[in-house]
């Protein structure tokens, strides 16, 4: 079976694929980030690729236009090679175009819940998962000739108050020489590892020669991955980087990823490789910028949803998707980096935060940790709206969680002009009655290139109050505005004209996309209401609502309530905390108290399976309306 060489221009990358492989696989192999929203089913048109040289066979051409076909565009997922090829992945198909810049949190995505980075360890209350301490070990005498390790342990026990200690072979091999060369004053590396009772003595070095040491806090999101490089002595994040999860090429949401893992021979390996490449690349960038070596990173904490954690570790995700929805493991012991495939110190421990169920993972325990709700009197609702909507309700007495499929819309997926809250994303929209005039603001005030989650929420609220759509999301007939028009995909509304836009195309939202967003918001609200019904509490029992997720900097709570995404509670009860997953991971990295709390949260939190029973479906259908079929649930929106 011949292998064809596929070259990518202008990237200068190459890949070999067989005649059965499709071009999407070549793109994946060459490491060109692309978002195959439909997972390669040929329906999303996101994998549009130009064949510059060579012959391909295309099984389908989806929604490519005549002009595009004539110009040589194909759908990569639907095309196989018939010769060596030169391909060009156009900018619009790429993810890298918007390579997420998270260096320094954007204004508004406040870090307030964490102690100020600078002062994180000022009070000496830090106890990172990995640390080096200097100890003086009394030398042996004829009268007191205890072994070297016993001698070291005795001192350590006293100094750190640990009952259980453990050393590995490497340490014991080097110990006698190091102790004697250093004049009995040494730097000892200590680690705590999830699932191990004893504190590990990882390394003993002569004092004064020991290098500084660092850790990683990683958020493995379905859509994006964020890495913090943390100075473990001070708790300061030296750098933060984020980018799209490279798994995007295998589909938008966890379900399509699981399907890819299960249905393809090397599927699981491919997904694991993709996410590892994403993390390793971000880490390498961070290390390069700070002139550090991979071996200086001695521990990593990861928070991800259950599927992401499975794919990261190469665990079989098949049963997450099948009734009765059983993950391979919720609670994962610490693992060595070289076993996992993280390119840091090979013997470093990698810890994954414990999950609760198939659709409530370590990212959510992290979030709950950050909010402090598990140890608070206040009845708190925590909502993390990403591709999945996960919700936790409770206080220090009890915690209940559930998850619904909100779809990728709020993260900018599944919407033709959707994007994350990056430069040029429309994040606020105002629409004049009748839909003649649209005012918007964009991230960094750049020319608009798309619309992000908070913009979409504004947009639905604005279209409704402007009388462009009805409560079901239908675009109304007989509107006098040129912004409403018929397209190949039904009715659509023009948010920004091509002459305003940074991409020279009209930025639009279609009726189908509006209805999709209404389904997303309905799923979230129905989840909240199902939990409340389960515990028998009314909406106004909620004392505060904490929102996390991929909305971007400012979610307009008023509009989110206006469309019925969030419950109608006084605005002052709402807080937005940004990426709580990575914040939780960092807390676990730095504080023993956080490690204990996260375990307790995982033990204490119950999970409500929404697919069992009828409540959710009923709640969902009644929420498929702006704001809700039961208008009495939204008193503040009633005409006075």
């Amino acid at each position: 079976m011949p292998d064809f060489l596929v070259e990518f221009d202008p990237d200068g990358r190459q890949a070999y694929i067989s005649e059965q492989d499709n071009l999407l696989q070549a793109i994946a192999a060459a490491g060109i980030p692309l978002k195959a929203s439909c997972g390669g089913k040929g329906t999303c048109n996101r994998c549009k690729t130009l064949v510059r040289a060579g012959k391909v066979k295309s099984a389908a051409s989806g929604k490519l236009t005549e002009a595009e076909l004539a110009a040589g565009y194909v759908l990569a997922c639907q095309s196989t090679p018939e010769s060596d090829l030169v391909l060009e992945v156009p900018e619009e198909s790429r993810l890298s175009e918007h390579r997420v810049v998270l260096d320094g949190l954007p204004a508004g995505e406040s870090n307030a819940i964490l102690p100020e980075d600078e002062g994180l360890c000022k009070d000496g209350e830090c106890d990172p998962l990995f640390k080096k301490i200097v100890v003086r070990v009394p030398g042996p005498t004829l009268e007191e000739a205890e072994d070297d390790l016993g001698r070291l342990f005795r001192v350590l026990r006293k100094q750190i108050g640990a009952d259980h200690l453990r050393a590995d072979l490497e340490t014991m091999r080097s110990l006698p020489a190091v102790l004697r060369q250093s004049g009995w004053q040494v730097a000892v590396s200590l680690t705590e590892a999830r699932g191990y009772k004893a504190v590990g003595v990882e390394e003993v070095e002569p004092d004064g020669l020991a290098r500084k040491y660092y850790g990683l806090a990683i958020d493995i999101g379905t859509t994006t991955v964020v890495v913090h490089l943390v100075d473990l002595e001070t708790g300061v994040s030296l750098g933060v980087k984020g980018t799209y999860n490279r798994q995007a090429i295998y589909g938008d949401d966890v379900i399509s990823r699981i399907i890819h893992a299960v249905e393809n021979k090397d599927g699981l390996r491919e997904l694991q490789k993709a996410v590892l490449a994403t993390i390793n690349e971000l880490t390498a960038d961070l290390l390069r910028e700070h002139d550090l070596k991979a071996t200086d990173v001695r521990v990593a904490v990861c928070a991800g949803n259950t599927t992401m954690t499975h794919l990261f570790l190469g665990l079989d995700p098949a049963y997450i998707r099948l009734e009765p929805y059983t993950p391979a493991a919720n609670s994962i012991p610490a693992l060595r980096a070289h076993r996992v495939g993280l390119k840091i110190y090979p013997q470093a421990w990698v810890q994954c935060l414990p999950g609760i169920a198939s659709y409530v993972g370590g990212d959510i325990t992290a979030g709950v940790l950050v909010t402090g709700m598990a140890f608070s009197d206040q009845m708190t609702l925590f909502i993390d709206i990403g591709t999945n909507g996960e919700m936790v309700l409770g206080n220090k007495e009890w915690l209940i969680s559930c998850a619904c499929s909100a779809g990728p819309a709020f993260e900018g997926g599944g919407v033709r002009h959707g994007m994350r809250a990056m430069r040029g994303a429309i994040e606020h929209v105002r629409i004049a009655p009748g839909g003649m005039v649209v005012d918007f603001t964009t991230v960094d005030s750049a020319p608009p290139v798309g619309i992000c989650g908070s913009g979409l929420i504004d947009c639905i609220a604005g279209l409704y109050s402007a009388g462009v759509i009805d409560r079901s999301g239908n675009i109304l007939p007989d509107l006098k505005t040129p912004r409403v028009r018929e397209s190949d995909e039904g009715m659509e509304f023009v948010l920004a004209w091509s002459h305003q836009s940074g991409r020279k195309v009209d930025i639009t939202i279609s009726e189908a996309e509006i209805k999709n967003l209404i389904r997303s918001k309905a799923a979230v609200f129905a989840g909240v209401n199902s939990m409340l019904k389960m515990v028998g509490l009314p909406l106004d029992a909620i004392e505060r609502v904490i929102i996390a997720g991929g909305f971007g900097r400012y979610i307009n709570i008023k509009d989110a309530v206006g469309i019925g995404l969030l419950p109608d509670l006084p605005l002052e009860k709402y807080t937005y905390i940004g990426n709580s997953s990575v914040k939780g991971a960092k807390m676990v990295l730095m504080f023993r108290r956080a490690r204990e709390e996260v375990e307790e949260i995982a033990r204490k939190m119950t999970y409500l399976e929404l697919s069992a029973g009828n409540t959710f479906m009923e709640e969902f259908v009644s929420a498929l309306f702006i704001p809700h079929t039961d208008l009495s649930l939204f008193p503040s929106l009633q005409p006075q």
Binding site: D470, R471, E618, S622, F625
Partner: protein
């Protein structure tokens, strides 16, 4: 020992809808209790029956159903008269010819058929389209206009075409049928959408898209019961009388379509029973308007209702 009759106290009632013009009006709804609990509340109007008339010869009605209408099937006006002779309280004109797969009749042609039927009988009219949402909207715009002032009940409006049909009802003084697929929330949503266009709530009838006996009747039953309970407990957006298109469902069933055979007996009796049992069940669930097909079903249904409308002896 004396039995104490438990009575619920309801705070609200079903809207009363008036169809047609004096002196030939039909009133439905107005109930302030569950169906037939005369001891507990008012049931001012009895359930009514409309017989179905088509604007074309129905292609797949079995002989036992066409027989009573022999000679009139090609002529909607004559067919309607025949129905009135059989005792129909209303006529339900189904504009099947407008379906693109049938004759694709134009809205104007449909309006002509509707006018002819309206001119032929005194009883109030229900007019429905072919079920193709977009076409129905266009058809009802013209039909509503042609029947201006006759206070007909027209439909079926769905979430996708309610705008035009509601507008036609408002301009021409008709009532509207709001159809949604067997879901109390969807029914309510459509009622909200329609009333927000300023059509009065008492001019809307809910069509919950019922199924026949053996074809999901229990589901339809519980949806109707729930909307009645909603109406009685003050939910204004569920307080509409319910219309049940029983004929179309019952005559679609295998039990009605299968010819005489040894095991199942005579088709005519069986099919009529199927229609009657479906209809009487929905009367118990709270249906107000019943669209039937066979004149014998109408007779049996009315006999049953007459019994049920007698005051309780306690």
């Amino acid at each position: 020992m004396a039995v104490t009759i438990a009575k619920e106290r309801w705070t609200s009632k079903v809207n009363e809808m008036v169809i047609g013009v004096e002196p030939n009006v039909v009133k439905v709804g107005g109930d302030s209790t569950l169906p037939f609990l005369h001891f507990e509340g008012e049931m001012p109007n009895k359930p009514v029956v409309a017989l179905e008339v088509w604007d074309m010869e129905p292609p797949d009605w079995p002989a036992v159903l066409t027989a009573p209408f022999a000679g009139v099937l090609g002529d909607p006006a004559a067919w309607a008269k025949k129905c009135v002779e059989y005792g129909a309280g209303l006529i339900c004109l189904r504009l099947a010819a407008t379906h693109p797969d049938n004759k694709d009749a134009t809205p104007e042609e449909a309006a002509q058929s509707a006018l002819k039927v309206a001119g032929a009988v005194d009883v109030p009219l229900i007019v429905i389209g072919s079920g193709v949402e977009e076409k129905d909207a266009a058809v009802m715009e013209k039909v509503g206009e042609a029947l201006n002032g006759r206070k007909c009940l027209i439909g079926c409006a769905t979430v996708n075409n309610y705008k035009t049909i509601t507008a036609s009802c408002m301009v021409n003084g008709h009532n509207i049928i709001a159809s949604s697929p067997l879901d109390i929330n969807l029914a309510k949503q459509l009622n909200i959408l329609i009333t927000e266009m300023n059509l009065a709530a008492d001019r809307i009838a809910i069509d919950p898209l019922v199924g026949a006996l053996g074809y999901g009747i229990e589901y339809a039953y519980s949806i109707m019961e729930r909307s009645r309970l909603g109406a009685l407990t003050g939910d204004k957006m569920l307080a509409m009388p319910v219309i049940c298109f029983v004929g179309q469902e019952a005559w679609k069933s295998k039990e009605a379509k299968t010819e005489d055979n040894e095991e199942w007996g005579a088709q005519e009796r069986r099919a009529i029973l199927w229609e009657v049992v479906t209809a009487t069940s929905f009367a118990q669930a709270g249906g107000s308007i019943f669209v039937l097909r066979h004149p014998e079903s109408l007779k049996q249904f009315n006999t049953h209702i007459a019994e049920m409308m007698k005051p309780n002896n306690y």
